[in-house]
Amino acid sequence: MKELLRYSLLFSFFALSGCSTFKPGGIFAYEDVKPWHKAVLAEERMQLNPYPLENSADQKIFYSRESANGGQGIGGGGCGCN
């Protein structure tokens, strides 16, 4: 548990390195976005799965080396990974 806490803190530090996260201009600052303001969100690198070839490889590695799988979506098939 202590290990989990330590890693969560480390992770939060990395993840929320865009400071002032909830203030306007921060990562989680909420605003109602109009359709013509979606230029940034339309970029390839801003998609939820921007590197499908790498993602597919990673999912296979971790499926065959860990017991917890999935979460991102449905489908993709099975694997008799040993």
Partner: protein, 444 residues
């Protein structure tokens, strides 16, 4: 399955005020079929994409995998897409089979000759004297085909069929997902269902679970619940049915950030045991020496849950962060926390470096045990010594370099270093290196 969250109302180029204005002016002038307006529309769609990847994974003294992946996306117009993936792997090496590692003070090793499956070659004493490893080679081919189509103005559906085949394993399945866009496409609700049928067919059939694989006749005391019957019966193929469901919400938080939360539920039924995995029976009165080897046994049902949260945010026009957390739990007692973080830095307009770190903390399954003590009164109902069901931590760190080639192509190379450490078991850490090269190309 690929369900790309719909980017904009149409495939708009980067400048959105300008493109919105083009659309607006064409609306005023459209009564007269302006050629300018007509040509603007035609540029946008009908680009198909092909992606190629070559991937090399290598564990120190264990398994190596070589994979080639071809991904094709065909734009059929009207926001309808046909996608296909073809993946071919070759796998060689040795994997821990669940037996304990002998202590340095020795003790005799029990030879293990099992009915060898085509994909599994058993050496008497395991790989180079390491009897806790089993060597094998395998080739795998997998294929999936999916179609994405708009159902109504705000509803999209994806239907997929998949198939994969290895020397001793076949799987096929289907899945469907629906995405519902709300709030001017700032919110998307996704929901999906998938079914999968898997069949494992070891060369001489599946073994008797918790049946004897081999034993040491000369051991002073054998457990009361087992006799050294080395001719354990074999059975037919192991069949498994898997059902998965998912519901998720994706939300645009601001002009630079999008976030997604998914809940998934999965049920696996049937033959969930790994027919190649073993568990040692040890006698503590003779320094934990292995006296017997049994086949493992897992329940015939597993219910899995996961909560997955991902956020992608652009900090500046050069920096994009992508981080996710997954909490997983199931009825086998396994829980897991997975943290993933990627930081993309575009040091030139079309080139980027992306470091990546990942951490996975997993607890062990209720029925996981490193070995069975020969002095217990009776066999447990289920037992597995498969390290993947045990308490482990996986650390990975990697770096990717990517570059756009002109308007329609891009390539990337990456390397990752993965370490997996085990708690409460005697296995040494696993170290692995990953190298991957990818190339994508758009064409008409």
């Amino acid at each position: 399955m690929q369900l790309k969250i719909k980017k904009l109302q149409s495939d708009q180029p980067k400048s959105s005020v300008r493109s919105a204005l083009t659309v607006a002016t064409c609306a005023v002038l459209s009564g007269s079929l302006s050629p300018v307006c007509a040509s603007d529309e035609e540029e946008v769609s009908d680009l198909s994409k092909i992606g190629l990847s070559t991937f090399y994974y290598s564990e120190e003294e264990r398994v190596s995998v070589n994979t080639t992946h071809v991904a094709i996306e065909n734009d059929l117009g009207d926001d309808t897409f046909l996608r296909a993936n073809v993946i071919y792997d070759t796998i060689t090496g040795a994997s821990p089979n669940g037996r304990i590692i002998p202590t340095s003070t020795g003790g005799s090793s029990i030879p293990f000759t099992s009915a060898s499956g085509f994909s599994v070659n058993i050496n008497d004493n395991g790989s180079a004297g390491k009897r806790w490893l089993t060597e094998f080679t395998d080739k795998r081919a997998a294929f999936d085909l999916s179609i994405e189509k708009p159902l109504t103005r705000n509803l999209r559906g994806v239907l997929e069929g998949n198939f994969s085949s290895e020397n001793d394993f076949t799987a096929y399945g289907a899945a469907g997902t629906i995405a519902w866009d709300l709030h001017q496409r700032n919110t998307t609700i996704t929901s999906g269902l998938g079914v999968l049928k898997e069949t494992v067919s070891p060369a001489s059939g599946t073994p008797l679970e918790l049946g004897v694989a081999n034993c040491n006749d000369t051991a002073p005391v054998l457990p009361s619940w087992e006799t050294c019957n080395v001719t354990s019966p074999r059975f037919g193929n192991g069949q498994k049915r898997v059902f998965d469901g998912m519901v998720g919400v994706t939300r645009v938080l601001n002009q630079r950030t999008i976030t997604q939360l998914n809940y998934s539920l999965g049920v696996s039924l049937g033959y969930l045991t790994d027919p190649y995995k073993l568990i040692s029976v040890i006698d503590n009165s003779i320094e934990g020496e292995e006296v017997m080897i049994l086949y493992e046994k897992r329940p015939d049902r597993r219910t899995r849950h996961s909560l997955y949260w991902k956020t992608v945010s652009q900090l500046t026009d050069k920096k994009v962060v992508d981080f996710s957390y997954r909490y997983f739990w199931d009825d086998w007692g396994i829980t897991s926390h997975t943290f993933d973080y990627k930081y993309r830095y575009d040091f030139k307009p079309k080139s980027y470096l992306q470091p990546h770190v990942r951490l996975n903390l997993q607890s062990s399954a209720d029925f996981f045990q490193r070995a069975i003590d020969s002095s217990v009164a009776s066999l447990p109902q289920y037992a597995s010594a498969d390290y993947r069901l045990g308490k482990l931590t996986t650390y990975s760190i990697g770096l990717k370099y990517g570059k756009e080639l002109g308007v329609n192509g891009s390539f990337g190379v990456r390397a990752e270093y993965i370490v997996q450490a085990y708690s409460g078991v005697d296995l040494p850490d696993m170290n692995a290196l990953v190298y991957q090269g990818t190339f994508t190309f758009k064409f008409k």
